[in-house]
Amino acid sequence: MQNQGFRRKMLYIGLMVALLLPLSYLGQPAGNTKHGDEGNFRGLLADMRERDSLSQTSFGDIDPAGATMQQMLLGLNGIAVNQLWGQAQDAQKKEDWETLRIVLNQLVKLQPHYFKIWDYQTHNLSYNLSTEFDDVRARYKQVINGFNFMKQGIELNKNEPRLLKQLGWYIGHKIGRADEKVFYRKLFKDDWMKLFHEQESRPLEKRDNWLVAHEKFQLATDLADQLEAKGKPLQTTPSLFYKELSHSLVNYAETITDEGFEEPKLNDDEKKNPDGSPKTPEEITALLDKKSDKLRSEWVQKFTAAWVQADKAFQEFSFKRYFKTPNNRVVLVGEMEQLLKLRFEKQNALFDLVAGEEKKLIEDKFNAIADDNLKKLYKKPLAERTDEENAAVRDKERELSFSWQELAGRAPAGDARTQAKALANEITLLEEKIQEIDHLRSPLNYNYWRIFINAQNQKEMQLANEATFEAKRLFRKGKSYEAAQKFEEAFCHWRWVLNNYPYLRNDSVTYDDIHEYIKQYRTALTKGRPGFLNDHPDHFDTFPLWDIVAIVEKERQAESVPFPPLCGEETKHSTMAASIRAAYEAAQANKPKPTPAPEESEETKSEKKDDKPAEQNSGKGPEKAPDSEKAPEKEAVKDASKEVDKKAAKSPEKQEK
């Protein structure tokens, strides 16, 4: 009995050794496989692990604590992870942030290579958790905690470009787009508490959140390119991934343009003359103005350069980054305009070859329609058709359309037809390619950005930005008339931009932004003088941006509103505030009482003005509406201005706010 037990034990040990030997042979360190040497499998497992990136080192830095924890759980990782997720959610619910942080650290030790955990929890910390705090600095701290959490993930997953991209995105958007962005950007630049930049030894001038985001996107792009070269495709939509590189620079340029420059300050020494006596207020103002000029010039230089840089990056994205379409065609997202041009040329060449056959082809198809009622419907003007009739026509439209090959078949027999068929094939291919690029562009809102970036690099746009900021600055300082004048100057530049880039005029983001400036302009004009605009109903006749007012306040379809002319030397656009001021002062001088008129009288006055015939307002300036359609739009603008003005009359303080 005892011998039998001993024999069995020996057998088991023998079997174990027999199995371990080949395993040990296969599991030798990598690099022992002699390629091409048949039958030699030494180190095969290690080589396979390396090739398929299955070893710990191929993911990134090894975390010994995490690896130990995983081994110790003896395959119960799933249960532990589930438990920890539950704990994390409970801690978050119970506002126990410290426990949440600890649990998250344990969680990522168990699942260090799972992209979603890093992404989800970074977002959770930076976006959800930060808003749980009331103090803006406490919020910022949580935002940065989220970023630093993601940095750990990047260390452990060095072959995961998506983490780098997400980190860049969060740095850019959370710091630069949150409601608290003014504070966040400042704290981020100052590296408050040395929470972020210090560890990455980033120089001071590169501590802008958009530039840091760009830095991360650059790393992500480089890594993705390296991996692609090794045959490891990106596990996300490439166009959306790669666009961030240029977009971060666009956002940077946009932000610094919008932020302007800080108001200059004088230190104790600057407030004194060299002999130690204090400077006069005039001297101090002159010094501050001088400093402002310097800061302004630096700012203009900075944002102009930023837009050039953004344009360069965008061009690189458009013309140097190739994308594979679902049909395995390699395209450039920016080549569409060139292809459209080419298609147009080839289309014309084909029409020349078929010599008017396209019309005949349509006629033949039309004549082939058996239903006489349908034929009648086709001839019926569009406006007179009912919905059902329109639907019936649309159903048959496919039958009337023809392919390029079909048309090429109508070319005269011989060389011309061969040539036509070749052209038809080329046009079809071009159209397919164009459509595929269009599909690529659509989620990127590419057309908008292309035009917007181009416009931003125009001199007039730079002037518009500069004047708009200056106007807002003057307004902040309480210089209402100077602000209004500056706004008028800005609006003339904006007019140029909108007329030269009609796409932007019809874009809601742009016209809403400009409308905000118009509202500030109105406030500047009417500050402390409720009902003032009603005394000058003709003001908007020559207002350069009345189309924006019509679109936003009257909710007119942007496409149906005509473009007003550019500001000319003859117009009084840029002197409107001054002339209104003069008129107002004259009116004030003639009034027996200097106090503002009571509410009722303002209302009555405005009603009287409303009753004025429209003809009275015409012919106020040399530049009129370009066509007769303009008149009703102008009325719309006037109405809108009155409405706003009435509100101002009722609560001037509220309007100022």
Partner: protein, 627 residues
Amino acid sequence: MVYEYKIPEFWPWVTDLRNGPFWYLLALLSILVVVSVVGFLVALIRNGPTVAGERTYAVLAGSFFDLIRLSPRRVWAVAKLVILEAWRRRVWVVLILYLFLLLFASQYLSPTTQKPAQTTIGFILSYSTRYLTLIIMLILSVFSIPQDFKNRTIFTVVTKPISMAEYVLGRIGGFVLLGTGMLLVMSVVGYIFLQRTLIHTHELSDEFIQEIRNNEKRPANERLTILRGQTTLDNRHQHTVELDPQAETNWTEYEFGHRHEITSEKNADGVTEYKIAVPEDLLQARVQHTGTLEFKDRKGLRTDKGVNVGKEWKHRTFIEGVSSMEAYWTFDNIRKENPNYEDGLLIERTIRIFRTEQGKIDEPLAGSMYVRNPDTKVTSQPLRFRAKDAIIDSQFIPANGLYIRNNDGTERKANLFDDFVNDEGKVEIVIKCDAPRQFFGMSERDVYIRDPDVSFAWNYTKGVICIWLQMLIVISCGVVFSTFVSAPVALLATVGFLFLGLYTEFVNDLVTSQLEFEETAKGKKYYGGGPVESLYRIVTQTGVTLPLDKTFGVKLMRWVDTPLLYLMKGVNKGVPNFDEYNTLTIVGQGFDVPNDLIWSLTFKAFFFCLVAFLLGLGFLRLREVAK
């Protein structure tokens, strides 16, 4: 600090028969009856009724006489043997392991933690000391008695004049003594580590010093009265300072859960030098004098809860700004004779803020606090404050600095004890939010009167005592299981039992949900039925919320489930709630662990130990009966 439940006072709790002790006694008797009956039944099947009866009597009588003849000397002899055995098994290696853990603590402690005290205490006590002690004690206790059986040393032991009771008690006692020694060493070393890790200081930053010097050079009428700057960056954080150059003492702002005192002193050259002290509020034990919270709703009527602003956790409820809503706490035992309250009351509050609109992001919301007499409803002038979200903020109510506004608009001086505290020593503290359309959130323990702190070392000891009590439960549990099953099974059973102890609340809610088919008191509803129904749903892949057709099979399943659920409930009641013993978070957060809590936990743990001892004794005797 967050306690989701009210801690009952120990003596009223222990002397109230409707509560704890009565049920514990009942449980003890039930267990003894069940064990006796089971033993009798086993013997009955094996040996027939007469022998079974004789043996059951012999066991019960023998156990009883064992108990009354307990000799501390013999118990000590067994305990000493246990300690020697454990020492021979090199149990001291655990201490070396602990030292290693502390040496590499930086690997585990995050430098960016917002609450360094809580994290470090958590690491030292909870993750290192607690787990190491519990795991080693668990292993030692479950392997000890089976090892005696295996080595047949038990026969040698029982041939000596040692009773079974002395043997079991000696085993438990030996392990407890051994664990106590280890715990003592670990907690002392941990305490030293804690002090050395957290105590730090800063200096004012060079720029700030420069600014202070510039300010000093200005003419007196141009000097700034408040200067704002930073300290140096030490221990991976720095503090913002709002410095009043005229004041002798200033404070840094709270950062990473603490602040520092700044003292100024003129040196020999007449230049003011600033010294920053060691951290305040980092390692401390606040003593709370808690009150009872009630609310007034938008109509000014009394209510138990404020508004729910949509938070999932309903622990805190909210009051709306500039409305009739208010939260008020009634505190009792406020006597003039109490030297702590002689000069006034130091109120500490933690307020959560909920904004319905942004307002000024960088400005805290305004609130006001009032003192009110619970009988006459005479109210003091508002004591204004700026609400610091989720941070403990303090405000002193001076006994003689209060006013009462008369109906005619005039004010008269008032005294806290004469005008606001009633004859029973009760006073109301009212909090209102002064920001329109914004909300303040609070729970009962968020506002309290701060009594003088107890020493942190003592509070730390209380945390260690709670670990010790957990160790007592683990050892008792391990010993009792090892008296009737083999060591690996005892290990698994103990681990399972203790694991259940971490989820007693969940199991209770789960069972109650199924038995009552309605929401439990905590508002949690679990679906899926009892054990059989759950198994059916798992096998058939039916979702837990999907109602089942009321067929005979389903009815049968539920019929079987009902007694099983009651069994689960019963077992769950017998399992000590391990969550209760986790007082380390309270120590880490800087609050005194209430003595009432310690007493009640001690009572429960010792009771559990007593039950385990009797069960262990019974099981060992049963072995005799059943064989």
